[in-house]
Amino acid sequence: MTTVDYVLRLGDDALVTAQRFGAWYAAGPEMEEDVALANIALDQLGAARLLLTYAGELEGAGRDEDALAYQRDAAAFRNCRLVEQPEPDFGVVIAKLLLLSAFQLPLYDALAGAGDERLAAIAGKARKESAYHLDHSTLWTLRLGDGTGESHQRMQAAIDGLWPYTGGLFVGEGGPVAFADLRTHWSSTVEEVLTRATLTVPETVAEPTGERKHLVELLAEMQELHRAHPGARW
Protein backbone atom coordinates (compact mmCIF):
# COMPACT_ATOMS: atom_id res chain seq x y z
CA MET A 1 0.00 0.00 0.00
CA THR A 2 1.44 3.34 -1.05
CA THR A 3 1.25 6.11 1.57
CA VAL A 4 0.25 9.73 0.97
CA ASP A 5 3.64 10.89 2.31
CA TYR A 6 5.50 8.72 -0.19
CA VAL A 7 3.69 10.23 -3.16
CA LEU A 8 3.98 13.73 -1.68
CA ARG A 9 7.74 13.26 -1.41
CA LEU A 10 7.97 12.48 -5.15
CA GLY A 11 5.54 15.24 -6.10
CA ASP A 12 7.13 17.87 -3.86
CA ASP A 13 10.64 17.07 -5.15
CA ALA A 14 9.35 17.68 -8.67
CA LEU A 15 7.30 20.78 -7.78
CA VAL A 16 10.08 22.55 -5.87
CA THR A 17 12.55 21.71 -8.66
CA ALA A 18 10.14 23.13 -11.26
CA GLN A 19 9.83 26.35 -9.25
CA ARG A 20 13.62 26.69 -8.88
CA PHE A 21 14.45 25.92 -12.53
CA GLY A 22 11.57 27.99 -13.85
CA ALA A 23 13.29 31.02 -12.31
CA TRP A 24 16.19 30.48 -14.76
CA TYR A 25 14.16 30.73 -17.93
CA ALA A 26 15.66 34.10 -18.85
CA ALA A 27 18.82 33.96 -16.76
CA GLY A 28 20.90 31.14 -18.27
CA PRO A 29 24.35 31.66 -19.82
CA GLU A 30 22.93 31.38 -23.35
CA MET A 31 19.47 31.40 -24.91
CA GLU A 32 19.52 27.67 -25.67
CA GLU A 33 20.04 27.04 -21.96
CA ASP A 34 17.11 29.29 -21.01
CA VAL A 35 14.97 27.10 -23.26
CA ALA A 36 16.48 23.91 -21.84
CA LEU A 37 15.87 24.86 -18.20
CA ALA A 38 12.32 26.00 -18.95
CA ASN A 39 11.67 22.66 -20.66
CA ILE A 40 13.13 20.72 -17.75
CA ALA A 41 11.05 22.78 -15.31
CA LEU A 42 7.99 21.95 -17.39
CA ASP A 43 8.77 18.22 -17.28
CA GLN A 44 9.12 18.40 -13.49
CA LEU A 45 5.91 20.40 -13.19
CA GLY A 46 4.07 17.85 -15.34
CA ALA A 47 5.19 15.01 -13.09
CA ALA A 48 4.40 17.08 -9.98
CA ARG A 49 0.81 17.70 -11.11
CA LEU A 50 0.15 14.00 -11.68
CA LEU A 51 1.78 13.00 -8.41
CA LEU A 52 0.03 15.64 -6.29
CA THR A 53 -3.32 14.73 -7.86
CA TYR A 54 -2.69 11.11 -6.91
CA ALA A 55 -1.57 12.08 -3.38
CA GLY A 56 -4.80 14.04 -2.94
CA GLU A 57 -6.88 11.04 -4.02
CA LEU A 58 -4.98 8.71 -1.68
CA GLU A 59 -5.51 11.12 1.18
CA GLY A 60 -9.24 11.22 0.46
CA ALA A 61 -9.80 14.64 2.05
CA GLY A 62 -10.86 16.38 -1.12
CA ARG A 63 -7.56 18.19 -1.77
CA ASP A 64 -6.59 18.53 -5.44
CA GLU A 65 -3.19 19.39 -6.95
CA ASP A 66 -3.72 23.13 -6.44
CA ALA A 67 -4.75 22.76 -2.80
CA LEU A 68 -1.64 20.68 -2.13
CA ALA A 69 0.70 23.01 -4.03
CA TYR A 70 -0.67 26.33 -2.83
CA GLN A 71 -2.25 25.74 0.56
CA ARG A 72 0.34 23.82 2.50
CA ASP A 73 3.00 25.44 4.70
CA ALA A 74 6.67 24.49 4.51
CA ALA A 75 6.31 22.09 7.44
CA ALA A 76 3.89 19.97 5.39
CA PHE A 77 6.17 19.70 2.35
CA ARG A 78 7.88 16.32 2.01
CA ASN A 79 10.57 17.16 -0.57
CA CYS A 80 14.22 16.45 0.18
CA ARG A 81 16.35 19.46 1.15
CA LEU A 82 18.55 19.15 -1.94
CA VAL A 83 15.91 20.51 -4.31
CA GLU A 84 15.10 23.61 -2.25
CA GLN A 85 18.72 24.84 -2.03
CA PRO A 86 19.22 28.23 -3.72
CA GLU A 87 21.12 28.49 -7.00
CA PRO A 88 23.47 31.46 -6.84
CA ASP A 89 25.05 30.48 -10.16
CA PHE A 90 24.54 28.23 -13.17
CA GLY A 91 27.03 25.64 -11.90
CA VAL A 92 24.73 24.97 -8.94
CA VAL A 93 21.79 24.45 -11.29
CA ILE A 94 23.72 21.86 -13.27
CA ALA A 95 25.11 20.17 -10.15
CA LYS A 96 21.62 19.94 -8.68
CA LEU A 97 20.15 18.54 -11.87
CA LEU A 98 22.91 15.92 -12.04
CA LEU A 99 22.45 14.85 -8.40
CA LEU A 100 18.66 14.81 -8.70
CA SER A 101 18.25 13.15 -12.10
CA ALA A 102 20.76 10.42 -11.16
CA PHE A 103 18.23 9.64 -8.40
CA GLN A 104 14.97 10.20 -10.29
CA LEU A 105 15.94 8.03 -13.27
CA PRO A 106 16.49 4.73 -11.39
CA LEU A 107 13.58 5.63 -9.10
CA TYR A 108 11.12 6.04 -11.98
CA ASP A 109 12.62 3.02 -13.75
CA ALA A 110 11.92 0.91 -10.68
CA LEU A 111 8.46 2.39 -10.07
CA ALA A 112 7.48 1.78 -13.70
CA GLY A 113 7.76 -1.94 -13.04
CA ALA A 114 6.60 -2.02 -9.41
CA GLY A 115 3.28 -2.81 -7.76
CA ASP A 116 1.44 0.53 -7.77
CA GLU A 117 -0.34 0.84 -11.13
CA ARG A 118 -0.88 4.60 -10.92
CA LEU A 119 2.75 5.32 -9.98
CA ALA A 120 3.89 2.90 -12.69
CA ALA A 121 2.00 4.87 -15.36
CA ILE A 122 3.38 8.24 -14.19
CA ALA A 123 6.92 6.87 -13.82
CA GLY A 124 6.71 5.21 -17.24
CA LYS A 125 6.44 8.66 -18.78
CA ALA A 126 8.68 10.57 -16.38
CA ARG A 127 11.62 8.21 -16.75
CA LYS A 128 12.16 9.15 -20.38
CA GLU A 129 12.29 12.79 -19.36
CA SER A 130 14.67 12.02 -16.46
CA ALA A 131 17.01 10.20 -18.84
CA TYR A 132 17.18 13.35 -20.95
CA HIS A 133 17.80 15.49 -17.83
CA LEU A 134 20.63 13.23 -16.71
CA ASP A 135 22.14 13.30 -20.17
CA HIS A 136 21.92 17.10 -20.32
CA SER A 137 23.41 17.68 -16.86
CA THR A 138 26.18 15.16 -17.58
CA LEU A 139 27.24 17.03 -20.72
CA TRP A 140 27.33 20.35 -18.85
CA THR A 141 29.17 18.85 -15.86
CA LEU A 142 31.87 17.53 -18.21
CA ARG A 143 32.07 20.85 -20.05
CA LEU A 144 32.33 22.95 -16.90
CA GLY A 145 34.33 20.54 -14.73
CA ASP A 146 36.85 19.80 -17.46
CA GLY A 147 36.75 23.34 -18.86
CA THR A 148 38.66 26.43 -17.71
CA GLY A 149 40.22 26.91 -14.29
CA GLU A 150 37.34 29.21 -13.35
CA SER A 151 34.59 26.83 -14.52
CA HIS A 152 36.28 23.87 -12.81
CA GLN A 153 36.55 25.72 -9.53
CA ARG A 154 32.92 26.89 -9.62
CA MET A 155 31.59 23.46 -10.61
CA GLN A 156 33.55 21.85 -7.75
CA ALA A 157 32.20 24.48 -5.35
CA ALA A 158 28.67 23.73 -6.57
CA ILE A 159 29.07 19.99 -6.00
CA ASP A 160 30.69 20.57 -2.59
CA GLY A 161 27.92 22.93 -1.53
CA LEU A 162 25.08 20.57 -2.45
CA TRP A 163 26.74 17.31 -1.39
CA PRO A 164 25.69 17.46 2.31
CA TYR A 165 22.06 17.45 1.16
CA THR A 166 22.31 14.34 -1.04
CA GLY A 167 21.78 12.00 1.92
CA GLY A 168 18.19 13.21 2.14
CA LEU A 169 17.44 11.73 -1.29
CA PHE A 170 17.54 8.26 0.21
CA VAL A 171 15.38 8.83 3.29
CA GLY A 172 11.80 7.66 3.16
CA GLU A 173 9.66 4.67 2.42
CA GLY A 174 6.01 3.74 2.25
CA GLY A 175 5.83 2.89 -1.43
CA PRO A 176 6.81 0.11 -3.79
CA VAL A 177 10.45 1.27 -4.02
CA ALA A 178 12.51 2.13 -0.92
CA PHE A 179 14.62 5.21 -1.63
CA ALA A 180 17.58 3.75 0.28
CA ASP A 181 17.81 0.93 -2.28
CA LEU A 182 18.73 3.41 -5.00
CA ARG A 183 21.88 4.69 -3.29
CA THR A 184 24.38 2.28 -4.87
CA HIS A 185 23.12 2.95 -8.36
CA TRP A 186 23.09 6.72 -7.73
CA SER A 187 26.63 6.73 -6.32
CA SER A 188 28.09 4.89 -9.27
CA THR A 189 26.36 7.20 -11.79
CA VAL A 190 27.39 10.41 -10.03
CA GLU A 191 30.95 9.31 -9.21
CA GLU A 192 31.53 8.22 -12.80
CA VAL A 193 30.43 11.60 -14.17
CA LEU A 194 32.36 13.63 -11.59
CA THR A 195 35.53 11.63 -12.20
CA ARG A 196 35.28 12.07 -15.98
CA ALA A 197 34.73 15.79 -15.37
CA THR A 198 38.01 15.90 -13.34
CA LEU A 199 36.01 16.81 -10.24
CA THR A 200 36.54 15.42 -6.75
CA VAL A 201 33.81 13.33 -5.12
CA PRO A 202 33.26 14.96 -1.70
CA GLU A 203 33.28 13.11 1.61
CA THR A 204 29.88 12.11 2.95
CA VAL A 205 28.78 14.26 5.88
CA ALA A 206 25.63 14.47 7.98
CA GLU A 207 22.82 16.47 6.41
CA PRO A 208 22.30 19.92 7.97
CA THR A 209 19.11 20.18 10.01
CA GLY A 210 17.15 23.10 11.34
CA GLU A 211 14.81 25.66 9.91
CA ARG A 212 14.09 25.42 6.17
CA LYS A 213 14.21 29.11 5.38
CA HIS A 214 14.95 28.58 1.67
CA LEU A 215 11.79 26.48 1.32
CA VAL A 216 9.77 29.04 3.30
CA GLU A 217 10.95 31.80 0.95
CA LEU A 218 10.33 29.72 -2.17
CA LEU A 219 6.78 28.89 -1.08
CA ALA A 220 6.05 32.48 -0.08
CA GLU A 221 6.78 33.49 -3.66
CA MET A 222 5.06 30.52 -5.31
CA GLN A 223 1.91 30.73 -3.17
CA GLU A 224 1.52 34.49 -2.88
CA LEU A 225 -1.01 34.96 -5.68
CA HIS A 226 -3.15 31.99 -4.72
CA ARG A 227 -3.24 32.99 -1.06
CA ALA A 228 -4.12 36.60 -1.91
CA HIS A 229 -6.86 35.56 -4.33
CA PRO A 230 -8.12 32.07 -3.35
CA GLY A 231 -9.65 30.22 -6.26
CA ALA A 232 -8.48 32.80 -8.83
CA ARG A 233 -8.27 31.50 -12.41
CA TRP A 234 -6.57 32.85 -15.52
Binding site: E32, V35, A36, A38, N39, I40, L42, D43, Q44, L45, G46, A47, R49, L50, E117, A120, A121, I122, G124, K125, A126, K128, E129, Y132, D135, H136
Partner: protein, 153 residues
Protein backbone atom coordinates in the same frame (compact mmCIF):
# COMPACT_ATOMS: atom_id res chain seq x y z
CA UNK B 1 -19.87 13.06 -39.47
CA UNK B 2 -19.16 10.34 -36.93
CA UNK B 3 -17.59 11.29 -33.62
CA UNK B 4 -14.39 9.50 -34.62
CA UNK B 5 -14.17 11.41 -37.90
CA UNK B 6 -14.78 14.71 -36.10
CA UNK B 7 -12.07 14.10 -33.49
CA UNK B 8 -9.63 12.86 -36.11
CA UNK B 9 -9.66 16.31 -37.76
CA UNK B 10 -8.29 18.07 -34.66
CA UNK B 11 -4.76 19.34 -35.27
CA UNK B 12 -2.00 19.60 -32.70
CA UNK B 13 -1.92 23.23 -31.47
CA UNK B 14 1.89 23.37 -31.52
CA UNK B 15 2.48 21.33 -34.70
CA UNK B 16 -0.46 22.56 -36.70
CA UNK B 17 0.29 20.49 -39.81
CA UNK B 18 -0.50 17.15 -38.16
CA UNK B 19 -3.65 15.83 -36.51
CA UNK B 20 -3.71 14.37 -33.00
CA UNK B 21 -4.51 11.01 -34.62
CA UNK B 22 -1.39 11.19 -36.80
CA UNK B 23 0.72 12.16 -33.78
CA UNK B 24 -0.50 9.16 -31.80
CA UNK B 25 -2.05 11.35 -29.07
CA UNK B 26 -5.57 10.12 -29.86
CA UNK B 27 -6.08 6.69 -28.33
CA UNK B 28 -9.75 5.93 -28.69
CA UNK B 29 -13.19 7.33 -29.53
CA UNK B 30 -16.16 5.35 -28.27
CA UNK B 31 -19.86 6.09 -28.58
CA UNK B 32 -22.22 4.24 -26.23
CA UNK B 33 -25.89 3.23 -26.80
CA UNK B 34 -27.13 6.62 -25.62
CA UNK B 35 -24.84 8.55 -27.97
CA UNK B 36 -22.37 9.63 -25.27
CA UNK B 37 -18.88 9.97 -26.73
CA UNK B 38 -15.78 9.14 -24.70
CA UNK B 39 -12.48 10.32 -26.19
CA UNK B 40 -9.23 8.96 -24.78
CA UNK B 41 -5.99 10.85 -25.30
CA UNK B 42 -2.44 10.51 -24.00
CA UNK B 43 0.11 13.30 -23.53
CA UNK B 44 3.44 13.41 -25.35
CA UNK B 45 5.33 14.88 -22.39
CA UNK B 46 3.98 14.97 -18.80
CA UNK B 47 4.13 18.77 -18.77
CA UNK B 48 2.99 19.37 -22.34
CA UNK B 49 1.10 22.68 -22.11
CA UNK B 50 -0.87 21.90 -25.28
CA UNK B 51 -3.05 19.27 -23.59
CA UNK B 52 -5.65 21.74 -22.29
CA UNK B 53 -6.02 23.28 -25.74
CA UNK B 54 -6.30 19.82 -27.32
CA UNK B 55 -9.13 18.93 -24.90
CA UNK B 56 -10.96 22.15 -25.79
CA UNK B 57 -10.45 21.61 -29.52
CA UNK B 58 -11.80 18.06 -29.28
CA UNK B 59 -14.89 19.40 -27.51
CA UNK B 60 -15.41 22.07 -30.16
CA UNK B 61 -15.03 19.54 -33.02
CA UNK B 62 -17.53 17.19 -31.39
CA UNK B 63 -20.07 19.95 -30.75
CA UNK B 64 -19.76 21.17 -34.35
CA UNK B 65 -20.47 17.63 -35.56
CA UNK B 66 -23.54 17.32 -33.34
CA UNK B 67 -22.01 15.25 -30.51
CA UNK B 68 -22.51 17.62 -27.59
CA UNK B 69 -22.68 14.79 -25.03
CA UNK B 70 -19.06 13.81 -24.54
CA UNK B 71 -16.08 13.67 -22.20
CA UNK B 72 -12.33 13.58 -22.76
CA UNK B 73 -10.19 11.35 -20.56
CA UNK B 74 -6.40 11.24 -20.33
CA UNK B 75 -4.40 8.04 -19.89
CA UNK B 76 -0.66 7.68 -19.29
CA UNK B 77 0.00 3.99 -19.87
CA UNK B 78 1.34 2.73 -22.12
CA UNK B 79 3.54 5.80 -22.38
CA UNK B 80 3.49 7.72 -25.67
CA UNK B 81 6.50 7.31 -27.91
CA UNK B 82 7.51 9.06 -31.13
CA UNK B 83 7.26 5.61 -32.73
CA UNK B 84 3.50 6.19 -32.67
CA UNK B 85 3.66 9.06 -35.16
CA UNK B 86 2.12 7.67 -38.34
CA UNK B 87 3.91 7.61 -41.73
CA UNK B 88 1.47 10.31 -42.95
CA UNK B 89 2.29 12.40 -39.88
CA UNK B 90 6.02 12.05 -40.50
CA UNK B 91 5.63 13.08 -44.12
CA UNK B 92 3.58 16.15 -43.16
CA UNK B 93 6.11 17.19 -40.49
CA UNK B 94 8.97 16.89 -42.97
CA UNK B 95 7.04 18.88 -45.58
CA UNK B 96 6.54 21.63 -42.96
CA UNK B 97 10.26 21.83 -42.26
CA UNK B 98 10.26 19.81 -39.03
CA UNK B 99 12.51 16.75 -39.17
CA UNK B 100 10.61 13.64 -38.02
CA UNK B 101 12.15 11.50 -35.25
CA UNK B 102 14.26 8.39 -35.69
CA UNK B 103 13.40 5.17 -33.82
CA UNK B 104 13.04 5.87 -30.09
CA UNK B 105 15.17 2.88 -29.07
CA UNK B 106 18.17 3.83 -31.24
CA UNK B 107 20.73 3.34 -28.49
CA UNK B 108 23.43 1.78 -30.64
CA UNK B 109 22.12 2.95 -34.00
CA UNK B 110 22.54 6.61 -34.89
CA UNK B 111 20.52 7.78 -37.85
CA UNK B 112 21.48 11.15 -39.28
CA UNK B 113 18.84 13.86 -39.00
CA UNK B 114 18.36 15.14 -42.54
CA UNK B 115 18.13 18.86 -43.26
CA UNK B 116 14.51 19.70 -44.01
CA UNK B 117 15.63 22.42 -46.44
CA UNK B 118 18.18 20.66 -48.67
CA UNK B 119 18.04 17.02 -47.52
CA UNK B 120 21.71 16.89 -46.51
CA UNK B 121 22.59 14.38 -43.76
CA UNK B 122 25.45 16.72 -42.72
CA UNK B 123 23.65 18.25 -39.75
CA UNK B 124 24.44 19.12 -36.15
CA UNK B 125 22.41 19.69 -33.02
CA UNK B 126 22.45 23.33 -31.87
CA UNK B 127 20.33 22.82 -28.79
CA UNK B 128 18.95 19.66 -27.17
CA UNK B 129 15.78 21.55 -26.29
CA UNK B 130 13.57 23.49 -28.69
CA UNK B 131 10.57 25.78 -28.86
CA UNK B 132 8.22 23.03 -27.64
CA UNK B 133 8.80 20.07 -25.30
CA UNK B 134 8.97 17.62 -28.20
CA UNK B 135 11.51 19.43 -30.39
CA UNK B 136 15.27 20.09 -30.54
CA UNK B 137 17.07 22.72 -32.62
CA UNK B 138 19.39 21.57 -35.43
CA UNK B 139 21.49 23.23 -38.14
CA UNK B 140 22.53 22.02 -41.57
CA UNK B 141 26.27 22.12 -42.26
CA UNK B 142 25.65 22.02 -46.01
CA UNK B 143 23.16 24.87 -46.52
CA UNK B 144 23.69 26.56 -43.15
CA UNK B 145 19.98 26.81 -42.30
CA UNK B 146 18.60 26.00 -38.83
CA UNK B 147 15.56 23.72 -38.47
CA UNK B 148 13.46 21.98 -35.81
CA UNK B 149 13.57 18.22 -35.29
CA UNK B 150 11.22 16.04 -33.22
CA UNK B 151 13.29 14.40 -30.47
CA UNK B 152 13.31 10.58 -30.61
CA UNK B 153 11.37 9.74 -27.44
Amino acid sequence: MTAREAVATVVDPELRVVTIAELGILRDVETDDRGHVTVTITPTYTGCPAMDVIREDIGAALRAAGHADHNVQTVFAPAWSTDWISPEGRAKLAAAGIAPPGPSKSVTLTIAVRCTHCGSPETEQLSRFGSTACKALWRCRTCGEPFDAIKAY
